[in-house]
Every structure is written in structure tokens, then in C-alpha cells.
């Protein structure tokens, strides 16, 4: 009996992850409210200065997406026990397909995360409107893919370690710098009406590079996690 193809496997993994999330509601009930609280606290911390709050709004949104969104990508370590991973290996699972499946699920959840917090940021911070804002939707998309890739890689690298709860964020936060730079540069370019091509291409290059590394190293990480 041959199992499903690469994409079939990735689909099954992603579907399973989404279903587990649907049951536990970790992202919807915990991570999103947590991020929303952060968005509420920041203006209090920097003082009630309306123009200032409006100008930091987009930046704060990216930071909150990065710091809280990465929690979304660390969900796996709790549900994927060693027994579950071993079972999947013995079912003929391709580790790269598993990686793709996990990243896809995290990507969808991060889109939900951004989809809730982005309107909230606009309402709370009232940032200056920029022309060509539909481009920001592309940036949101690329940010979600990139963060899902980095987070999944980092949780693979640190899975099962005692220090993983602190180590994984330490790895993710600096590594997502290119995403942050790309995202904030795009916004800046839009507000100054200069070329957005360079930051967008930077995001695309980073996402592609991470995907290549993730797919090629999945097998080794799988082997080193048992």
C-alpha cells in the first residue's frame, strides 16, 4: 500500500494541525487576546501623544505580530510527542512534507492573527492612511509565511529541550529581522511614495531561502529529534 504523495502528506499534516488548533483554540483564545493586550499597553507606556501613537502604529503592529505570532508557530512542541513523531516516520512520512504541512497550518493561523490585529491597530492607533495600501496585504502574506517558516524551524531545532521555551524565541526574534525590515520599509516607502520593489523583493528572497533550508534540513532535524 503506497501512501499519499508529498503534497498529500503535507495536506494531511496541515489538516491535522488545524483540527488540533480548532479543538484547543490556543491561537484564537489565548495568543490573539495576548497580542491585543500588548497593542493596548504600548500607547500607555509611551504616553498619550496622538501624532506619536499614529506614527508608531504600523511598527507596533509588526513587532506584536512578530513576538506574539511566533507563539503560534511553537504550538507543535506540545502536541507532537516523541511517540507521535515515531509513528509518523513508520507510516512513511516524508519529513519535508511534514515541514510543509506544519508551516502551512502556522501560516493560516498567522493570517487569522494578523486579520484580527491589523484592523484593531487601525482602530486604536489611527495611523496615517497611505496610498497603495493593498500592497500591505501582500506584505502581511509574506510576513506570515516567513514567520511560519522561521518558527517551525526554530521549534524543530529546540524540540524536546528543557530550555526550548526561552531558546526558541531567542532564535526567532533576531532571525525575523529581515521580515521586519522588509515590512517596515514597505510601509515607509508607501508613505513616502518611493519604490516598494526592493523591500518586497527582500521579503520574497528571505521567504524562498527559508523554505529551501527548511525543506532540505527537515530530514536531519527529524532524525535528531528522537
Amino acid at each position: 500500500m503506497t501512501g499519499p504523495s508529498f503534497w498529500g502528506q503535507a495536506y494531511e499534516i496541515g489538516r491535522k494541525d488545524m483540527r488540533v488548533e480548532g479543538r484547543s483554540g490556543e491561537v484564537l483564545n489565548i495568543t490573539i487576546p495576548f497580542g491585543a493586550v500588548a497593542l493596548l499597553l504600548i500607547p500607555l507606556a509611551i504616553g498619550i501623544d496622538r501624532p506619536l501613537i499614529a506614527s508608531v502604529g504600523p511598527g507596533m503592529f509588526w513587532v506584536v505580530t512578530l513576538l506574539f505570532g511566533m507563539l503560534v508557530t511553537f504550538r507543535h512542541s506540545a502536541t507532537e510527542t516523541v511517540a507521535n513523531r515515531e509513528m509518523m516516520v513508520l507510516l512513511g512520512m516524508d519529513p519535508a512534507a511534514q515541514f510543509v504541512g506544519r508551516v502551512s497550518a502556522s501560516f493560516l493561523l498567522l493570517l487569522v492573527f494578523e486579520g484580527v490585529l491589523a484592523p484593531l491597530t487601525i482602530v486604536l492607533y489611527n495611523p496615517d492612511p497611505v496610498s497603495g495600501w493593498p500592497v500591505l496585504l501582500v506584505v502581511l502574506l509574506l510576513m506570515a509565511i516567513g514567520l511560519a517558516l522561521i518558527g517551525t524551524l526554530a521549534s524543530g531545532i529546540t524540540s524536546g529541550l528543557r530550555s526550548r521555551n526561552t531558546l526558541a524565541p531567542l532564535l526567532v526574534a533576531p532571525l525575523s529581522l529581515p521580515l521586519l525590515v522588509g515590512a517596515s520599509q514597505t510601509y515607509e516607502a508607501l508613505s513616502q511614495e518611493s519604490s516598494i520593489l526592493t523591500p518586497i523583493l527582500l521579503l520574497v528572497a528571505v521567504v524562498l531561502g527559508l523554505a529551501v533550508v527548511g525543506v532540505l534540513t527537515a530530514r536531519f532535524l527529524e532524525e535528531a529529534s528522537r
Binding site: I150, S163, L171, P174, L175, T217
Partner: protein, 241 residues
């Protein structure tokens, strides 16, 4: 003479040459004596990039060839790279204060990317410390060694991507806008630092190897299989305690 001594002595010689050129080179018309910080700052940054490139290559080689020597090289190179990244950051701050008027500029992409590069590789060393099994440690840190390298070209090219206070790419361009003698002094110091790197690498990998052998010896003494370490519980005593 062993390898370490030859490397160490040649490092001393090239450092002396670098110091000579550095002290003889003319000063930049604007920066004056502060030009000379460049002869430490630029080679340090170069070594940081070089070390992490070596780590990248060694990490890939570990994953494909499975020889422990590649893991030792990867780890040693990160330790040295982290040191020189810190040195580049610190000399940069010392240089930046009189020249730009600030130790740290939040708008400068080169500073930010380099600082975050530093933290990722600090994380690399932290990761190694939290995995006891050598093979697992080598594999996982190899993956991180590959992923973390993303920040290296980003840091180098950041002056191109983002609006920054740092000067653009100076040396590696066809119409290099740098005075010939300043360039000579800079390149001789880059060369000297590279020999220092090789010396450090030779010593650090030897230390890593020695540590492994030491562990091996202590393991040979304590070669009881895991299960045989357990003896029968003293039931009589347990009842009476």
C-alpha cells in the same frame, strides 16, 4: 614546531606589519586620527562574516559527511565569530560617537543587523550547551548554523537595502573611492586579522578535540552500561526504616 606555534608566530608578524601600515597611513581629511579605528573595526567585521561563512560550510559538511571534525570547526568558528562581532560593534560605537555624534543610531541598518546577528549566534552557543548528545547537538546546531547565516549577507548588504548612516560598500567595488595608502593599511590589517583567526581556529578546534577525548576517557572508566548501574534495592532496610 607544531602548527599552533607557527600560526601564532606568523600572526604576531602580520599584526606588526598591520600596525606599521596603520600608523603610517595618511589620515582621512575629515576624520583625522579617528580614521585608525577603521583598522580594527573593518577587519573585525570581516572576521565575523568569515567565521560565520566557515560555520555555514562546516554545518553543511557535517550534515552530508557526518564527520565530527566538521562539527568542531562549526562550533569553534562561531565562538570566534561572536567575539569579533562584539569587537566590531564596540569599535563601531567608539568610532561613531565622535564621527557621527552618536554611539548608537536606531536608523542605521548595519548596526541593527550586526547586533541581531550577534544574538543569533549567541543563541547558537546556548543551543549547544543545552543538548548533551553529541550527534543530536551537531545536527541541530548545523541546521541553526545554516539558518542563522541569513543575517550575514543581510548585514553586509544592509547598506544597499535600507537608508543608512553607514558608508556604502567601499572596498569591494570597481571604482573604489579610497585612498591607495589607506586601502593598503586596511587590507594589511584585514590580512593580519585573518591569520589571527586561523590561529584561534587551530587552538579552539584542538581544545574541542581535547575535551572530547577527555570525555571519552572518563566514559571508558565509567563504562557501565546504563542498565547495569542499577542494583537490587535493599528490601530489608526499606521495611525497617
Amino acid at each position: 614546531m607544531n602548527r599552533h606555534r607557527i600560526l601564532g608566530l606568523s600572526a604576531l608578524v602580520v599584526i606588526a606589519i598591520g600596525l606599521y601600515f596603520g600608523s603610517q597611513a595618511p589620515l582621512d581629511q575629515l576624520q583625522g586620527e579617528y580614521t585608525r579605528i577603521m583598522y580594527v573595526h573593518v577587519p573585525s567585521a570581516w572576521l565575523a562574516y568569515l567565521s560565520f561563512l566557515v560555520t555555514l560550510v562546516a554545518s553543511i559538511l557535517w550534515l552530508t559527511k557526518r564527520r565530527l571534525v566538521f562539527d568542531r570547526v562549526a562550533e569553534s568558528s562561531v565562538s570566534i565569530g561572536v567575539f569579533f562581532t562584539a569587537l566590531a560593534l564596540m569599535t563601531g560605537m567608539i568610532w561613531g560617537y565622535p564621527v557621527w555624534g552618536t554611539f548608537w543610531d536606531w536608523g542605521d541598518a548595519r548596526m541593527m543587523t550586526t547586533a541581531l546577528m550577534f544574538f543569533v549566534y549567541v543563541g547558537y552557543l546556548a543551543l549547544r550547551r543545552s543538548i548533551p548528545d553529541p550527534a543530536m547537538r551537531a545536527t541541530r546546531s548545523a541546521v541553526l548554523g545554516i539558518v542563522a547565516f541569513f543575517l550575514v549577507p543581510l548585514s553586509y548588504l544592509s547598506v544597499l537595502i535600507v537608508r543608512t548612516l553607514h558608508q556604502g560598500i567601499t572596498v569591494a567595488r570597481p571604482d573604489s573611492p579610497i585612498d591607495g595608502e589607506i586601502l593598503l593599511a586596511l587590507l594589511s590589517n584585514v590580512g593580519a586579522f585573518t591569520v589571527v583567526y586561523l590561529t584561534f581556529m587551530s587552538l579552539k578546534t584542538a581544545i574541542a578535540r581535547g575535551e572530547e577525548e577527555l570525555e571519552e576517557q572518563s566514559a571508558a572508566v565509567d563504562a557501565t552500561p546504563a542498565g547495569a548501574a542499577i542494583t537490587a534495592p535493599n528490601l530489608e532496610k526499606v521495611r525497617d526504616v
